[in-house]
């Protein structure tokens, strides 16, 4: 493809999401990667730090620079922020003032209400005025707003795995939103690249463990988006678990259908409604693979891709709907999703550089 190239910067390129952004953007036909910051690697060549990118086409001999937004801001027109929560907002503020566009992979701009932010993140939001402007970057559900956004808040990995299967059902009133239980398994890269005993190989290998139960921070954005879909405040159950894979999120969701299902024909009709609904929402979405009730997801089918796949079973015995989704937490759950927003913002085909 011969696309016009956008000058792009990555701020915080040395974590796992940053590295995945490098992997995607160095091969993206519409991107000229013109700046990459890293406090840790400042001054070093990108390909010294990440030799595996040395033969990539977009590798122009770039050196990592210090993350001073006043300096690096001039070198690109759009910036991806792959920084920890609570750090990204500083850069976003400065870059927007310089007239740049920003796609932020952190949680800093995902919430509309600064009070919710304060409740879940335990400090006041430093730039509440930007919360109104920022757009939640779930392309499958929010494409039009993303097109014209200056500031995209790219969704969290767990929220993506939950919102894609549930939002259509909540919006159409097919399930009781407050009945939703999300039981999620995440690979260890979800914890980030930080030196910490609980994430050592020996601590994670041959270990299965819940954490952050019952009030994980990601609940705030999940409930916000489901509340918009339900047009009322929604509270759900969310239980993350750490399991020994590098990448991948497997989410199992439980929900009660709104309609009373008493006969086999009512079950069958409800199943048809599910299929129709998902078809309405996702038949044009390259990266959503709906398995309906004839397949079960497996993270190994999606790891390394921007695809989220999901299937479901309507249990005749309990009357519950069980939904199951799989995604790569670093691609559809982070860097890939951000590039998808980038494509939409720049009028590129949504899958450019993602297949």
């Amino acid at each position: 493809m011969n696309l016009p190239k956008v000058k792009v910067g990555i701020v915080g390129a040395s974590g796992y999401s940053g590295e995945e952004l490098l992997h995607l953007l160095l091969r993206h036909p519409g991107v000229e990667l013109s700046v990459a910051t890293s406090r840790q690697y400042s001054g070093q060549k990108l390909t010294e730090v990440f030799p595996r990118f040395s033969h990539y086409p977009g590798n122009s001999g770039l050196n990592f620079v210090e993350p001073h937004p006043d300096e690096f801001g001039q070198h690109a027109d759009l910036f991806f922020l792959a920084l920890p929560h609570g750090v990204a907002h500083e850069y976003a503020g400065s870059l927007l003032r310089q007239g740049k566009k920003v796609i932020d992979l952190s949680a800093d701009f995902r919430l509309d209400d600064p009070r919710t932010y304060e409740e879940f993140y335990e400090h006041k939001h430093p730039l509440p005025e930007l919360l109104d402007e920022s757009v939640y970057g779930l392309t499958e559900l929010n494409k039009e707003s993303i097109k014209s956004a200056r500031l995209v808040a790219s969704p969290g990995c767990y929220p993506t795995s939950i919102l894609i299967p549930t939002t259509p059902l909540v919006e159409r009133g097919l399930i009781h939103p407050d009945s939703i239980i999300a039981d999620c398994l995440s690979g260890v890269s979800g914890a980030g690249k930080k030196a910490s005993i609980p994430y050592l190989y020996v601590e994670c290998n041959e270990s299965l463990r819940p954490y952050g139960i019952p009030k994980h921070r990601h609940l705030s954005e999940i409930e916000q988006e489901l509340s918009k879909a339900a047009k009322k405040k929604v509270t759900i159950q969310f239980s993350p678990h750490l399991v020994p894979v590098n990448r991948g999120i497997l989410t199992t969701l439980y929900a009660a259908p709104k309609q009373e299902l008493r006969s086999e024909s009512s079950f069958v009709e409800f199943e048809k409604n599910l299929n129709d609904t998902y078809s309405d929402y996702y038949s044009e979405s390259t990266f959503v693979r709906h398995l309906s009730n004839s397949g079960l997801p497996d993270t190994k089918n999606v790891v390394g891709t921007n695809v989220i796949e999901f299937g479901w079973k309507l249990d005749r015995r309990t009357g519950r709907l069980v939904l199951m989704s799989a995604e790569d937490n670093l691609v559809k759950g982070a860097a890939g999703q951000a590039v998808q927003s980038f494509n939409v913002m720049n009028d590129y085909p949504e899958s450019t550089g993602l297949i």
Copy 2:
């Protein structure tokens, strides 16, 4: 310890549960292992097949023999059956007729009602008369019946991980039994030692996947035992998942408290009820580690032991109770639990050979 030694046989000693039984019984001070059958290894020395047991004290140069119950039955007084479901019953019938005691690790004698068996296992039960006699071998809840049993049906791995945390609450009427959702993760040894593509290293490593949803066979015994506890028919939701560890089951359970919980004081009171209840049931149980609401389980704390640990959180936001348990599927979920029953049947201290 100087215990009188019981002559013991293992039928089907070459699978993963059989191997774990060998590991435990060869070092058990109250056991003389006098016979071990294996179709596959018949004629070979036990320590040729499993060199890692060569320096164990109970290794008496035993050879594996063919599984002909009429022949091997005379060599021991009590038999552990580590055979596939649908195969064990033949051996149990023959051995009981020879006056032997049997501890069966398969599902063949776990159900009371042959119609339930037929519904879940899809063929008629061949020895329905033994279903009345067999005792469900969950020592923590069933010790008295096990003491005098001739035929113990040792519980499944998933059922153990679910019944230990929920039975006391159902029996005491603290939770709505039909609200129970059990979301379970199992290591790959749970699938047995059979040559099959889906259990190859490459297929399981870096893979997270649900299976058997929504009607896995283990539901039958879980619901049977919970129904006894509730004194009414109980139906629950059960979702097993395969995750890449060798051993370990991590179960996350969701349940609705029966009592309405509206104020913080009612939550606190309910939490006290939970602690009191678990203390009543398990304070004398060596192998149950109750973490209350101050710890979360991790399979790596229990793998290689006969311990099941569990903790819980009472969610103020949703009102739901979240329970989480961890066990080793081959020990507390299979061979260790069977040895625990053996100890009770022979008046040994319950933890003999298990610590």
Copy 3:
């Protein structure tokens, strides 16, 4: 890129190498995948069997067909054979007679001398006349012959990891070829996708084990190629090991320098010779990353790519040269290498479809 498209077939598309070929060829801009055979999946849609390819650009709704060369041969001009050793030759013979080109990933045509084949594979070679014609498909060392080949025998995974670092040194007479010891670690996908107890998850996870020592079949092609380089018969030591990763080969090589190295200056000069030699051989090779003596390879830097990286240390204490290489056994060690040959045969840039 707008390349003319070659009509291509894959014979044996359901194993691990076949699946990797699908991954590469479905996205290759110079390929129209027009036929894929699989005994096991015949009649099924390619994307039913491998849902992860459904959003790939080259997916034209292909169905797997039975592997009857007289029928499928007409549908393409060039065929990749991803079949077990001892099976590929039948297809190769028939396809060549039909005027097709063949790139064979098996060992069937890698040896020049039918007697060597018989010694290592323990049966007579069925088509010895093709051994003369077939070209050993190691593009970095054999590009010119590959260009005009009708039948390419793509190298084995272990041989590639050994020949790339050693051939230049043997050809230039820098090391004693008979002193070479190759100690190799392979991920489990190297064993193929066959249902077999030793490759079950539980058997491989948390296991490190040697196998095939001291006379593994791959020795035959390694020694053949090194003998050509040395212009005399070479015998080396080769020790493969199975380790718990999905993909990746890590090879550590030991060799004695020919020159006597007594002073620090002679060591330094020898190191310069090594760097110059590798530069002469590989400075134009996109897929060879020479780390010299300043870096050590790691399979995670190359997995998923067609790159082989290698480095070395010249030990002042022992005088030995230690060489270490890393590659992905399914890409550079199998499917990627085959596509690299394909590119050369069709005058495409060598890295087309491989970055």
Copy 4:
């Protein structure tokens, strides 16, 4: 067993070797664990930090204490030091002055010559006078000296895996000691429990990598012990690799037989010599499993045990001897080996508490 109990202390009980010592000593019938130090966990109950030991028989409600040797020294008669290299010597000096016995798991007292220590550890040895007194704690080869030792320097994990198979052959003059090449694979617990990026789960999983090549510190003790066996200075090649398992070392050794082997009968005779030699050295050693040339080792046969198993192949093609050993780096390579020395020092059967 009713053994008199020795009062024992563990200094540095919170690392991986320390934890394994707890596991072994809490169940050892001849041990009263009376003190355990940990800077990190000082003041906390042992079973709070390691809940998995709560049901162990020797758990007397011990609290971790600060590592001040003047204070804790009085509470036990023998101390295990599980401290980092360069730290252990301070504790050893103080405890010996208090009349205690010490088994040190670090490298601080393994070398006889302070100059060798300085060469490999890059600082002067602080207590060179103790190097003469300390005994290298390889029970299989050094039992008599261990019996009467006040200070045992327990061998490193790699050295154990190398010395057990090679020492007898070097001592008997069967192989050229300088021809020895040791290619070793280690699980990640070998790197210790320290928060460091290269040992994170994501960095180690699906990664195979060499390190410390060509001059790893463990060479110093390996060469010292082989030099004693050879009665001349020996220099060998040693290449450690990090592979993704929790525990286990797999070592592959290459050596040239001293005798010229030209005929099949000379090979057969040499093989007989090997078997006789190993039988002379190890037939009474409970923890050495000699597989001869009829089996290959696998770490999964020894993990969790104090056994080292090894086998060998005499290659007719190259004339080289290939030896392969497997051990658990935390048991035979660390804590188990130290307990084995403890048993010898206290006249307990060598396998007490280790089976």
